[in-house]
Symmetry: C2
Subunit: 353 residues, 2 copies
Amino acid sequence: MKFNIALLAGDGIGPEVINEAVKVSDAIAKKFNHEITWTPALTGACAIDAVGVPYPDETHEICMKADAVLFGAIGHPKYDNDPSAPVRPEQGLLLMRKKLGLFANVRPTFTFPSLIDNSPLKRERIEGTDLVFLRELTGGIYFGEKGRKDGGETAFDNCVYTRAEVQRLAKKGFELAMTRSKKLCCVDKANVLETSRLWRETVQAMEKDYPEVTVSYEFVDAVAMRLVQWPNSYDVLITENLFGDILTDEASVISGSMGLMPSASVGEHTSLYEPIHGSYPQATGLNIANPLATILSAAMMFEDAFGLKDEAEAIRAVVNKSLEQGIVTEDLATKGTKAYKTSEVGDWLVANL
Amino acid sequence: MKFNIALLAGDGIGPEVINEAVKVSDAIAKKFNHEITWTPALTGACAIDAVGVPYPDETHEICMKADAVLFGAIGHPKYDNDPSAPVRPEQGLLLMRKKLGLFANVRPTFTFPSLIDNSPLKRERIEGTDLVFLRELTGGIYFGEKGRKDGGETAFDNCVYTRAEVQRLAKKGFELAMTRSKKLCCVDKANVLETSRLWRETVQAMEKDYPEVTVSYEFVDAVAMRLVQWPNSYDVLITENLFGDILTDEASVISGSMGLMPSASVGEHTSLYEPIHGSYPQATGLNIANPLATILSAAMMFEDAFGLKDEAEAIRAVVNKSLEQGIVTEDLATKGTKAYKTSEVGDWLVANL
Ligand SMILES: CC(C)[C@H](C(=O)O)[C@@H](O)C(=O)O
Ligand SMILES: CC(C)[C@H](C(=O)O)[C@@H](O)C(=O)O
């Protein structure tokens, strides 16, 4: 098969980890007889520097024409201390999500047996954790009307959801649950928020179409607790944009493998694959960043965007092997063992595929 | 001294844990020569059953006239599956907060050395944890305009904050930080929300009035992570209503002592003291609920509402002693040790004061 992949390396360590994901993807393509064309495009702080906006139209066109987008990370410290600066890398992220119609962010959290002791949680609490959040990504308070009144003394952000927005996200949740343990948890704050009541009534009405799926409804504050107490009691969770932002980040640290977590954002047009970690500016150019989250995001891309399960499994298998054999970057190297460079990990994976 | 305390036992285990807090408070009053008058009043599901509303005017008047309110818990399973029922116990809670002007919810999270191994987190992650959240409690998306449009197909919740609302909460945060380690963390989502940008700019402008306090600004998603990773890196945290709801619950489980955590809500009128746990309906009437969170809330009341530090310390000391000696309810009893009844724990504390 032939694929055209938009390559959005972004800022900070983005280019370095993307580079390794490209190497591994190319090696997989060669092995399974596919042909990948990579089309690089600018986004984030580097796009602001080059053309003044964080998600240029040209980048958008490249993404729209591609079969998938592989994304690194964006963000630069020079924008960190002034969240009200007129142009910021995050705006590019939000614009990209909106323009590509990426309404569902898919965030798996799972444990790697060889890394389980990295977790801040006790082993018995996290063993067997394998959950997936589906976070709504183009609605809610992120995209509602916002502004100031009373000469700047009053600020407001409006959270808005339509039934159709909830349905399309929930549909993905039910479908995903059907391929897994048929357990779905809808996370809301229906005891306080009207948007949450819309979420809950919409999901309740869909239950009859998926009679095999057991649905539970939990308040966001209760989930924030239980995720720390018994993460392995969850399977598929669906939630709105802001709750998803908070809970997926919380969930990512429980496995102790945060630096390895991939994600996908899917919706109306091209799907996008990216590591959950950020641009890690302090490590830029040092060849020390862990490329595995990006490489596992590429595996998600092969499986979900291209329907190539064997290719994805081959990537995951060699990643597991590298972890077991300790071919890891400094974030995972334990005292006394060698820390490999970003590019050395990529080379090893390619050689061992 | 003489005190008039409004006693809102509420639902479920509320009356049982309140009963023990009354016993211990009376014993302390006797020992230190104070006189307490308790004025019981209805709230929650039991108020709905009795008079049709969850926070009756009569209850409000009793609270307004009192020197402090001691609160148990509210909620009943018959309201749990229908978050859109016209009258619900939670509405009483929100109305009470609003009418009493309880704009700051004070939620300490700390570890008890004897309970540290109850935590889902590893010992080395939580040792020394001693943080306090100040959650804004009468504004934000909880109290903004909410409703439906398009014949019910679109729902909205408006989040609104004024500079004055942020200032009065932040002032309490700075003042609290001055009495502790002079570290204040403002939790927001200023990279996305206009209300968060108002929070951040308001707190930034107040920094000059508290030159000794070191203020950090962190995004809510990052805090949701770091709370699990390094809870002991925080001290005083201030945040808006909904973020506070999620993060305080998350924080409460990390210490492993959730059943023991007290809280206070303070503001324009009478202050209110309550355990952070809920009404635990399954345990109602069984005399098994842990009364310590309510008893420690009474200690906060003595210290903060009445300025009686010795009395508060005496309660805390005897609670610590009971924990060390294993005089605990079944939630804390370890295999092979005896579980004491709710009332037996209260009796023991009174006898050992
Ligand atoms: C950078 C920020 C706007 C973004 C979000 O809040 O969605 C990030 O936290 C994420 O989760 O991708
Ligand atoms: C019951 C609910 C309305 C309430 C809240 O969200 O404030 C509760 O979760 C709390 O934190 O006291």
